[in-house]
Amino acid sequence: MRIALIAILLFVVTVGSVVFNFTTPFHFDAIGSNWELIDITVYITFIICGIVFVVLGLLMAWWVHKFQYKEGKFAEYEPENASLESGLTIITTIGVVVMLAPGLVAWNDYIHPPKDAYELEVYSKQWTWMYRLPGADGVFGAAHNKYVEFDNPFGMKKDDPYGDDDILILTDTVKIPVDRPVKVLLRSEDVLHDFWVPSIRAKMDAVPGMVTYFWFEPIVEKMYEVLCAELCGRNHHSMRGWMHVVSMEEYGTWLNDQVTWAGFQEGQVPLSPEAARGRDIATTNGCFACHTIDGRNLDTGPTWLDIWGGTVTLDDGTTRVRDEAYIIKSILDPHAEIVEGYSPTMNVPEITEEELQSILDFMRVLTSEPVKTEPAIEGEEGSVDLPEGEPTTQPTEEPTTD
Amino acid sequence: MTDTTLSSQESIFTSTAKDWSSDMTTFKGVPWGKAMMWIFLLSDTFIFTCFLVGYMVMRMTVTEPWPVASEVFALTVWGVSVPLLLIAIMTFILITSSGTMAMAVNMGYQRRKWAVFWLMVATAALGASFVGMQCFEWPKLILEGVRPWYNPMGAPQFGSIFFMVTGFHGLHVSVGVAYLLIVAIRVVRGKYDHTNFEIVEITGLYWHFVDLFVVRTEA
């Protein structure tokens, strides 16, 4: 019998899909958190579904080939077959249960953070990330978007005593200690965002008007890139941040350099209001898709740290002093002078003169000399007491409805 | 023909099963227009209920205070403030109109055209006066400073929900009034003489449904 082209095609597609699955390099990358259970559930689902797919695909190919049209032949007349149908129902149901059960168990873990998890607030806004820690008392001060001002970037409620020792991290980079479960609380200043680190597996949307959460325990010390996984406007794709999983010691040192809300109000401000405004403008114009402010030179653009003053080598080998004129020119006419090692990929931003000045104000403060702040948490350098026990917040009454 | 109601031998399930497995029509003895109206009302129920879900969620999530309905909707009659008076009157009107509508349907099946006409006109008049009272209620609230986006007594959602739901309901009533009048006129003109006057019942279905929602929305 001639083999029908479609039968061959069905066969090739089925087998080809399986081959692709085993040869492709694209699978989950190495896990960086405690969520193996997710990987296991995926694995189980893969096996069950893979088998079903192969069996059904091959049966189709085979039967299409085998039962091709013959003039005068009658197909078998069999409208129903109760035992076959109920058998298949039962098998499918079993398959579903086997996949669902581990999933639900894992979900149960997922929504119940362990008691000893410490809390970290991820604060999202178009199009960057900031972070807040509850400080020595382990309790976040109340914060609400309605209080947000230039000099109150997190919208802290001013008269809330729990807030004073909250630690504010005003950059998109956060460090977290390895092997400690963390309950991430998510807040948004404007629209939906989603804190997403592929290797951690876990994610959740930040919803304005609510506080959402998820938890995980990082197990590998590594610098992870944070993506935003919920469409949040025209620069959604460039809303990146960094989550640096570090040893406890490094974490402690870093934490000591951070400013508290009380300190922030007293003027230990890393940023003046003008500079903060510049930072916001740079953020909304998507500058941080290519530039960093912490000294890392990305492939996409040179860092802005210490951009003010000093010299720079251009791609024609000449050296140029980075004065105000140069920087303005670099922004408004980016293709005129190209920094060595880069290509003219930067677009001319659409900003007003005033906005440009604010950006310059911001760039001026980007120096690598340490900002003098008081230690955020009392205690010895390098050893930090993380708040233990029940993740606490302010005591509240039982929620009632009315 | 036999009575279309449940005969005593059939259980509700066998009767349902029998109807659904019969040929030609599933809803026995139900004219096309009436079947269509029922299905439309089913769909409209989903619209109204979704609005009410919106109301419920707003009410339960806002942290600003929600005004006390009995104070807001009080009318001052002869110097005494009677809570909810306006709403009570409006409900009274709509329920009454439902009564007249039901009678109109009844008269329709007795082919008493003029009785149908006058009852339907009465229904429409009651409906129109309901809309009229809304026209009284809205400015009253607006004068008190309530806006769709703002409410001096607390949560702005109170104003939003109020104007949206009553507006939507008022729209239904207005459409209903027009519908009633058109059908009433066509009835006396003899447009439906060759039928059983189901059209009156179909109009009635719509009207009762609109009425039903005043019951649910003004809570």
Binding site: - | S15, G29, M153, N196
Partner: protein
């Protein structure tokens, strides 16, 4: 399509009509007496359903339709019941997150409407 129509004594309409008033009266009482909490919602819902039920059953003649139609119309809204139920649970959740983290007042008092505000509320005007 032959229909023999719906013939019922007018009396029943009047009866239902009266009944509806009685129920409306009760549900206004709930507001009037300013019952609060779960009792309030329970009563309001009960009266609402009673009224709706009577309108649908008698005025809209559903009582006299065949069950094929009755089931066809009354079953689908069950999905709405699920929606309402879940939304109620979730609203509560969202609300408590606002109170817990955002410093919102769990039991705010509404201001009286302007026409009730005869000055005696003056002292708590800006609390």
């Amino acid at each position: 399509m032959a229909t023999e129509g719906q013939q019922h004594p007018i009396k029943i309409y009047f009866l239902i009509w009266l009944l509806l008033f009685v129920f409306s009266f009760f549900s206004y009482l709930v507001d009037y007496l300013d019952l609060q909490g779960n009792l309030r919602w329970f009563l309001i819902v009960v009266f609402m359903l009673l009224k709706a039920g009577f309108i649908v059953a008698i005025f809209m003649h559903m009582k006299w339709e065949r069950f094929a139609l009755i089931f066809g119309i009354l079953l689908p809204p069950l999905a709405l019941v699920v929606l309402m139920f879940l939304m109620a649970i979730e609203s509560n959740y969202a609300w408590s997150s606002r109170v817990q983290y955002m410093g919102e007042d769990p039991a705010p008092k509404p201001k009286p409407p302007p026409h009730m505000d005869h000055g005696e509320h003056g002292e708590d005007k800006d609390h």
